[in-house]
Symmetry: C2
Subunit: 200 residues, 2 copies
């Protein structure tokens, strides 16, 4: 079992937050359980009272994030019929998730390719595919509706959007001057209108 006991306890969440911060900034492989324990003010052995292994920590972090993101995306698709409004909402929701799930996003970006090789983390691929489906759906509907250019390859556009949005977690600072919403807006301007001045 991945939740050894007290599944909903505050201490678990606290330890996961500490571990997540370290995994995100130093990498999963290079973060030692001793470092996590140190940061939490306990000894490494004590961590195993809460978690089975280092792997199960990162597993729990990623599952929580992906569950929340999937719900948010589904809500967008259910509520936004207009393709362009849906695109705006997907981008905004994604940037906003950096405020609450920044560490998990960084871990997902940096480690999922590597982790997905193990059966235990197979859900990383399947969930990623479902999320991809949300974007593709919106882009294709938009093309059919004549809102988005038809000369662009949708899979390519999807990858550019996905990469640009998520990789922003590397420099986005939740306590900085630019809010997630403001960044989402500037990004949508570039994405939709391009950077070239009209008439030039």
């Amino acid at each position: 079992m991945s939740a050894k006991r007290h599944p909903g306890s505050d201490r678990r969440a606290e330890l996961l937050a500490i571990a997540g911060r370290l995994f995100a900034s130093r990498g999963f492989a290079t973060t030692t359980v001793r470092e996590i324990a140190d940061a939490a003010g306990i000894l490494s052995g004590s961590l195993y009272h809460h978690f089975d292994s280092k792997e199960s920590m990162v597993d729990e972090i990623l599952r929580g994030f992906l569950d929340r993101l999937r719900s948010a995306y589904r809500r967008v698709l259910a509520e936004q019929a207009d393709p362009r409004a849906a695109l705006t909402a997907l981008v905004t929701v994604s940037f906003e998730s950096m405020d609450t799930d920044g560490d998990a996003i960084a871990i997902f970006q940096n480690e999922s390719q590597h982790l997905a090789q193990f059966e235990r983390f197979g859900y990383l691929c399947s969930t990623a595919e479902e999320l991809e489906g949300c974007w593709l759906d919106v882009l294709k509907r938009g093309q059919r509706a004549g809102v988005f250019r038809r000369d662009l390859r949708v899979p390519l556009v999807y990858r550019f959007i996905r990469d640009t949005v998520w990789v922003a977690v590397r420099w986005y600072d939740p306590r900085g001057s630019l809010s997630a919403e403001a960044i989402a807006e500037q990004y949508l301007t570039i994405l939709c209108q391009g950077i070239v001045e009209l008439g030039s």
Copy 2:
């Protein structure tokens, strides 16, 4: 000394290519010297005849790549006076570098934030700043010339471009149907004109 001996030997280059492939796909920390040696068909100890350490291998890989990229960028700035032509050239040169330096780019993307913490890899930051300067220069000149929109924040635009271009190494396949040049072209279309159909 990082080049233990025979600095220009073929065997060195061969071993570096093997190591680079592993570092890129499995991560630097999770790749063991024994795996590298296995892939090369020799024993781990024999690697130390060519290199001081695992670190010096990744060091040499990154230095080579950054040197080549820096030269290419400088050439672009020297040859392209027009901002839009320079932007196109920077994007194209970057995508084309994936054909020859794909592994190094992946390593740079995945590990440099972590590696840059050590003095030995301080050049990662300084070189990244110089490369950033090339993009900022082109974007600012373009804004002054009225070619690029003035309502966009240049540093933000730079980060979006940089991230989108380089993160493409995760899915770009040099032997796939889309050439680097073709991808650069589609990307420039999105970047310059946006994805929205004119008049909608």
